[in-house]
């Protein structure tokens, strides 16, 4: 809890004969995080080199490339396969050897046929484009080319040309100009071209075709339709192959990926001519399992030992160690940065506080139910994506919290539920109708509650800051950092006590009536001032420049008022939507029903639905992002460092193939 899983560093050494069994066994166990060997010329690794891949790695890789290219051509993945039996490895290997080349050839042929056909469609389309200007011409296309003494020019010009030489011209008016085809003698060609260029001639090439342009275009269009049909046939064939071999392709992809990863594992090991060594990390609770299993498969011919960890801050990979309900929140931690091995892991706290903050912002039974339905309904869209599932789980937790707070605040789409708010009321009186005005709103009280949340959250952040300093720093720096964190707490509470000693605030202790000591200062004022000064001194000891940050204490605490402020804005939007839709449009029409009134009532219903849909979207954004920001900016900056390595064990979770 609040700590990643404890890890142990293991060294495995054996002779080269044991290489394959060790790799296979480590891969099967799927718990060993390999520290890649890098040849840096370290003394302790003198004589070791990076290993060579196992035999057959290149053939497996080339089969894998083939499968992956087919899979990407088909657009298939293993995500689409659910609840299927696992393939037997031996049988699968045989069919990879026998069937894969046949399938690959077939698919390749179909693909090349299809791309050829697609290219021919392009070609026809270009020809149609070239013929398009000549569609209305009264002459067949062959009359424009093939003369010895006459040349034809075709193109668009701005206005009708006046030519002094003898010529034959056909023109067609276009938007903003003319399309012309001119036939002149070869010797006049240059002069004619010049005078046409003055009219901004844009030449087009005359297609060398036979027959009238419109007939030719119709012909090509027919051809394109024919090609489309052929492509359809090929696509149907490909779909057939895809459906038939989907399972085979995906299961062999999985098998070969596992084989390639194992065959290439020696690239991460340190080897000599006769032996190899590998260093890696295993969760401490599983160390004996690794010892025993390796001993068994190598019949004792392997040396495994636990190494001392030199630098906890850099070394161990980080695997979260949280109860089940906190797992979804790990997504938010990974978005920010995975915790370092030695520091406090705030995931558990965040998984509790985040939904509470969400509920405070969007405390409405109606919206909560919509979000709850969404968190189940959208699940099929994120199938197979771990992050997507985590997000849906977070949404589910948040919507439950939203419903609970909705019951407390007595809100349902901005309407009041049959009971009075169980806690402070958020109902806002709006306009003359003042929906829900019968419960007096307690907004100042709610704002103070949110400030309390901020004070406690930030104090906890600073306490964890001191804890992290004690774990991660060394020597003199350690005590400086710890005292600086305590200093920040003292400054914050000093300011708070000073304020309490001067101004009585609702829901906060009133210290202004404390006995006076001297000069109108009471006990609390002096205590607050002392805390403030001592705190400032502690901060300044670590780094005097940090004193510049002292005003952020106030802005960070006040920042928590967003929990109520953003929540109230969503209440206001809901109330206004209800007021416009029901109060202003639907109710007056219902009082005196007319045919036009029925239409207006429908408009009112649309306004109602649109307003609440908008508010739901804003609620997800506001309710989701603001608590996240409060964690990231106000909370994490007090203690969190992040930058831990992800624990990524050597192995895979097999979905489609059996373990061999």
């Amino acid at each position: 809890m609040f700590q990643p899983k404890p890890m142990s560093k293991l060294l495995i050494v054996a002779s080269k004969q044991q290489l394959e069994p060790v790799i296979t066994e480590l891969y099967r166990m799927n718990i060993f995080h390999i520290d890649d060997f890098v040849d840096k010329g370290d003394e302790q690794w003198e004589g070791f080199k990076i290993g060579m891949p196992l035999k057959g790695a290149d053939t497996i890789s080339s089969s894998l490339v083939k499968i992956r290219s087919i899979a990407s051509a088909f657009g298939i993945g293993s995500d689409q396969l659910n609840d299927v039996a696992k393939a037997k490895v031996q049988a699968l290997k045989q069919s990879i050897e026998k069937d894969l080349p046949v399938i690959a050839d077939e698919v390749e042929q179909l693909l090349s046929q299809r791309s050829k056909l697609e290219a021919s469609i392009k070609e026809y389309e270009q020809k149609i484009e070239a013929l398009r200007p000549f569609t209305d011409a009264p002459f067949p296309m062959e009359l424009l080319t093939g003369y010895d003494s006459i040349s034809c020019i075709a193109g668009t010009v701005k206005s009708k040309p006046v030519l002094s030489v003898s010529h034959e011209i056909w023109e067609k008016s276009l938007k903003g100009g003319l399309f012309i085809t001119v036939a002149v003698r070869n010797e006049d060609l240059a002069a004619v071209e010049r005078s046409l260029l003055d009219l901004q001639l844009q030449k087009v090439t005359i297609p060398a075709e036979t027959g009238s342009a419109s007939a030719l275009i119709a012909d090509y269009e027919q051809k394109i339709a024919g090609v489309h049909k052929e492509i359809e046939q090929i696509s149907a064939k490909m779909t057939e192959i895809r459906d038939k071999h989907h399972y085979f392709l995906m299961s062999s992809e999985e098998l070969l990926t596992a084989d390639v990863e194992q065959a290439e594992a020696p690239l991460r090991f340190a080897t000599t001519d006769l032996a190899f060594a590998v260093v890696g990390w295993v969760p401490t609770e599983q160390v004996t399992k690794v010892y025993e299993t390796l001993d068994r498969v190598c019949a004792g011919k392997v040396y495994t030992t636990e190494l001392e960890i030199e630098d906890y801050n850099e070394g161990p990979p980080v695997e979260y160690n949280n109860p089940d309900f906190s797992h979804p929140t790990e997504l938010f931690m990974d978005i920010y940065s995975r915790p370092k091995y030695t520091e406090v892991d705030p995931t558990l706290l965040m998984s509790i506080v985040y939904p509470i903050m969400f509920g405070l912002i969007l405390g409405d039974v109606g919206y909560g139910l919509i979000l709850l339905a969404m968190s189940f309904g959208l699940r099929s869209m994120v199938k197979g994506s771990e992050a997507g599932n985590q997000l849906m789980n977070v949404l589910r937790n948040c919507s439950i919290s939203s419903i609970i707070f909705g019951v407390i605040f007595s809100e349902f789409f901005g309407f009041s539920l049959p009971w009075a708010p169980l806690w402070f009321s958020r109902h806002i009186p709006i306009g003359a109708t003042a929906e829900g005005a019968h419960h007096a709103s307690a907004i100042p009280q709610l704002l103070v509650v949110s400030i309390w949340i901020g004070i406690l959250h930030i104090t906890l952040g600073r306490i964890w800051g001191a804890l992290n300093a004690s774990r991660m720093e060394h020597g003199h720096h350690k005590s400086l950092k710890m005292f600086a964190n305590i200093g920040w707490i003292l400054v914050m509470w000093g300011i708070i006590v000073l304020i309490w000693s001067k101004f009585p605030i609702i829901l906060m202790p009133d210290l202004s009536k404390m006995p006076e000591l001297a000069g109108g200062l009471n006990v609390a004022t002096i205590a607050g001032a002392v805390m403030l000064v001592v705190g400032l001194a502690c901060i300044a000891r670590e780094n005097a420049l940090d004193l510049m940050e002292v005003p952020t204490i106030i802005s960070h605490v006040l920042s928590y008022t967003r929990l109520i402020a953003v929540g109230l804005s969503s209440v206001a939007i809901a109330l206004v939507t209800n007021f416009i839709a029901i109060g202003l449009i639907i109710n007056p029409q219902l009082a005196n029903l007319t045919p036009v009134g029925v239409v207006l009532i429908l408009v009112g219903v649309v306004v109602f639905l649109f307003g609440h849909a908008l508010n739901t979207a804003l609620g997800i954004l506001g309710g989701g992002l603001h608590p996240l920001r409060l964690h990231y900016v106000e909370f994490f900056t007090k203690f969190y460092r992040g930058g831990g390595k992800k624990y990524n064990p050597f192995g895979m979770i097999r979905k489609l193939t059996e373990q061999n």
Binding site: P444, L447, V633
Partner: protein, 85 residues
């Protein structure tokens, strides 16, 4: 007559006080919103660029983008206090 005139005057004064409060609340939210918008403009554009370069930056980019948002929240809180206290 005089009493009536006073009553009308008092009513007008309360009404204009309420109106000024509403105007003040509107200005608080509106101006604060413009301010955070201007602040987020540059940060958001740069953050988008950073995320396009490297997806891992998303968390940090989001954090930087929403930093100026606090200003508008303060505006909103001031407006709420004006309207409801």
């Amino acid at each position: 007559m005089a009493a009536e005139a006073v009553a009308v005057e008092v009513a007008a004064a309360t009404a204009s006080a309420a109106g000024l409060k509403a105007v003040g609340a509107g200005l608080a939210v509106g101006l604060a919103g413009v301010g955070s918008g201007l602040g987020e403009m540059g940060i958001g554009a740069a953050a988008m660029g950073a995320v396009a370069e490297n997806k891992d930056m998303f968390g940090l980019a989001l954090l930087f983008t929403v930093l100026p948002e606090t200003i508008v929240i303060f505006g909103l809180v001031v407006a709420l206090l004006l309207m409801f206290q």
